[in-house]
């Protein structure tokens, strides 16, 4: 799995996506095991640099998962995250890496099914795109 650089980093908002992931876990619903969750206080905490760093460290794909539009308790965290994901995608494209490797997802805390679907969808997409062109440990400082 990780040897083939297929790891997905999912930045999960503590108020929505992380709860949805937790719910999926408690209900024993299977989802791809190549995803690593990073709990963030709000999707708006995730910067473009966090996304690029994930790729530098060998991730094949990144998900930024926040609340549904209009439901962010910090008001604009999820809309800011959406803009940043768009920007990160453009920056990746600029260097010849498929911009579809990074995605923004909006979901409700009780929607564990959507969480599972989105993780599976990106995992499938990455199978199509192939492993990350960046090999972990090969990025020089």
């Amino acid at each position: 799995m990780t040897g083939e650089n297929k790891k997905i980093i999912a930045f999960c908002c503590a108020e929505s996506a992380y709860r949805a992931a937790d719910r999926a876990g408690r209900l024993r619903i299977r989802y791809p095991d190549n995803v690593r969750l990073i709990r963030v206080p709000c999707a708006g905490r995730v910067s473009v640099l966090h996304i690029l760093k994930a790729f530098e460290k060998g991730a094949a794909g990144v998900l930024v998962m926040g609340c549904q539009e209009g439901a962010c308790c910090h008001l604009t965290g999820n809309t800011r995250a959406k803009e940043r994901v768009k920007k990160a995608s453009a920056l990746l494209k600029e260097i010849g890496i498929d911009g579809n490797r990074v995605r923004m997802v909006n979901l409700a805390p009780e929607n564990h099914q959507q969480f599972v679907q989105e993780v599976s969808k990106l995992s499938e997409k990455l199978k199509e795109l192939g492993p990350s062109p960046i090999r972990k440990g090969e990025v020089k400082k």
């Binding site: 910067s47 473009v48 640099l49 690029l52 760093k53 790729f55 530098e56 920056l91 990746l92 600029e94 260097i95 010849g96 890496i97 062109p133 960046i134 090999r135 090969e138 990025v139 020089k140 400082k141």
Partner: protein
């Protein structure tokens, strides 16, 4: 403040092609505020360079640094140890910052990662607009603090022209306000509309000789 934009990645890549170790230097002043060359942008460009070199199998090593003001020799001087380690410097400062680095570290090639565009101010989040043309012969005292030299598309000193659109927009760009309509409204608020009747003689654009130099004594 000075407003700048980042150059396309391809152009930056071509500039530094062939160098094995580079230092990306940001500036903590104007370009930090206009999101072009601050700490975050230095991190993003460095990350892009590392990812691209790893993808293409090049051996590029990227160091990062940000100085408080890249346009001051004393502040740039603190980079000396880092500069000695690298083959080239990539500046994320304005044109002055690039030249300061090049002057202090003459033995190293310095490349600009930004295009310096204008002197302006933030208008909304992520939006900056030009406000000063640094013409060296300021006439803002006659025009209610609105500069027709840069804000009028034609740079007219005696306006408005005949092409002002309905709603006070410019005939050249319907998105932009007609500077002379803004000036009229401002002077109206100040009760100085008589200034609209004043004739402004052709401006002395040679007030500041190029290259400009000012000598002053600290107060």
């Amino acid at each position: 403040m000075i407003i700048a934009e980042r150059k396309p990645f391809e152009e930056i890549k071509q500039m530094i092609a062939g160098y094995k170790k580079i230092l990306v230097v940001g500036c903590g002043t104007c370009v930090t505020i206009c999101w072009a060359g601050g700490e975050k942008e230095v991190g993003i460009l460095s990350s892009q360079l590392r990812l691209a070199s790893s993808k293409e199998g090049n051996e590029l090593s990227v160091l990062e640094a940000v100085v408080e003001r890249q346009c001051e020799k004393e502040m740039v001087e603190e980079l000396r140890d880092k500069v000695q380690e690298v083959d080239a410097i990539l500046s994320m400062g304005c044109g002055v910052g690039v030249q300061t680095l090049a002057e202090v570290f003459e033995e190293k090639p310095v490349f600009p990662a930004l295009n310096t565009t204008f002197i302006g101010m933030p208008e909304a989040e992520g939006v900056w607009t030009e406000r000063c043309g640094a013409c060296g012969d300021c006439m803002l005292y006659w025009t209610g603090g609105i500069c027709p030299v840069v804000r009028c598309a034609k740079g007219l000193l005696n306006g408005p022209c005949g092409g002002t659109r309905k709603g006070g927009k410019c005939e050249i760009d319907s998105e932009k306000d007609c500077a002379w309509v803004l000036i009229y409204r401002r002077l109206e608020k100040q009760g100085r509309l008589d200034l609209m009747r004043k004739y402004y003689e052709p401006k002395n654009y040679r007030a500041v000789k190029s290259p400009g130099k000012i000598e002053a004594v600290e107060a």
